[in-house]
Symmetry: C2
Subunit: 279 residues, 2 copies
């Protein structure tokens, strides 16, 4: 059994922590500067509170980072600045290049990871992919838990590349669909589009409504991920525009963060708000 | 029964001409400068060959333009330069702004159109949408034919707007999916992506293969359409990047025009050809 520090137990991170506890590991977290909501969630799950990062690192053989992608690099820096020499897993939605840079910083104990699926509260719903020389050690930590773990072949960056490719289509096509609804609304052809979809694209209208409902509250943290994906495309010599546009659309949806799930009409209005009209 | 000039009977235009003939109209076409393949197709369908544009216009109460979007404007100009005063229908995949500009050129006899679906050789497969004061006259020409016609409410530009919104998702999501396959290939994670899709995105791998097969030969004429869609987004105050990226990807596929349908592997190789590697 191992001692693991989980930075930071948000919606996804909590489920990762829960999986580790389920497997019998001791899971630490750093409560300093976190919200009351996070604190309650951590207590309920049985995470062990260590008030500051330095003492938490002193107790942990493994650190797993689960955070919005724009904070992944600085989180790794904070840990390394404190002289940490254990295994560091970045499980965030970052580009292979971002992951490689963290790998350079951390050294041979770095593991590249990517999580696919919703927070892991159900059997078979969620997978953590891991790459790099220490990947198998991390995969073993999750054996028999709700979070399925897979080592993927390839150097540091392979797990991140898989996450980028996966989210490129799922979140990219969601953004595309919501943008189409906004365009139709601006052009005054929403009813005609819905009628045409009913003939030739069955299910798409319902999917656009469901996407608005399920995406609106999470959009605030998708913008950074879309930028990492755009950077991945550019580095691969492929056009980055899909995900630059997706980032912009998700950014326009940030106001839904702490509100009820949005209807498609509320969402298209927000996407079009304050933008120049067609005239 | 009416005399209609169809410019130009390619794959889609031939089926539009066929629908008109089916309804008992006389359909002219201009053979000057067209390929032997087009000539054979036109003869077979029973189109009436008028060798030059001016004499064709002299005989026709209606002109219907069916061509790649980048030629739509110059085709309208050619017709108007010859003093044509009948009804002119642009049925192409152009932005509302492009259509409005043609409307200004043509005058009150301009009809804005957009065709949705494959060439109209089967019942219920294909629809022509029409907008503007003369729209109902054109819809009537197609009554009882294989091409279903609909007048959509709104000014000139509404039918084009519908076509843009429709193709924005269908062709946009195809380009997105093909781009994802190319990215995975460049990153060396194709097998992992396909395994993950088999778990959580059932059907997507097959869809990507089918999309390669069905899109490769047509991609050469999608790039212009994607640019019209991008312009429509910009004018609406929405990000245009999705369709700028789609235009670039379809452009990279131009070499498949006169070849056999491409496999996904051939297609991703072409998308990545000559582009800078990740290293």
């Amino acid at each position: 059994m191992a001692n693991v520090l989980l930075l930071h137990p948000g919606k996804m991170g909590s489920s990762v922590a829960n999986a580790l506890i389920q497997a019998g590991h001791e899971v630490f977290w750093v409560s300093q500067g976190r919200s009351n909501q996070t604190r309650e969630r951590a207590e309920e799950l049985g995470l062990c509170d260590v008030t500051d990062l330095s003492s938490a690192l002193g107790k942990s053989e493994f650190v797993i980072s689960v955070c919005p992608p724009e904070y992944a690099g600085s989180l790794a820096e904070e840990v390394i600045e404190r002289g940490y020499e254990g295994t560091y897993v970045d499980a965030n939605a970052v580009s292979p290049a971002t992951s490689l840079a963290m790998g350079d910083l951390v050294g041979e104990n770095y593991v590249d990871g990517g999580i696919i699926g919703p927070p892991a509260w159900n059997v078979g719903s969620t997978r953590i992919y891991l790459s790099g020389p220490r990947a198998a050690n991390i995969a073993a930590l999750f054996e028999g838990t709700l979070l399925d773990s897979f080592v993927i072949e390839g150097e540091i960056g392979a797990a991140s590349a898989l996450k980028m490719c996966y989210a490129a289509y799922t979140k990219g096509s969601s953004a595309l669909l919501l943008g189409v609804r906004a365009l139709a609304e601006r052009m005054g052809v929403t009813d005609s589009l819905i009628s045409e979809w009913a003939i030739s694209q069955r299910g798409l209208e319902e999917r656009s409504r469901n996407t608005a409902y399920s995406t609106s509250q999470k959009a605030w943290r998708f913008a950074g991920e879309m930028r990492e994906i755009a950077a991945t495309y550019s580095a691969a010599g492929l056009p980055a525009g899909f995900h630059e546009a997706a980032a912009e659309l998700f950014e326009r949806m940030k106001g839904f963060k702490d509100r009820d799930p949005a209807t498609i009409d509320e969402l298209t209005a927000e996407l079009l708000r304050g933008k120049k009209s067609l005239d």
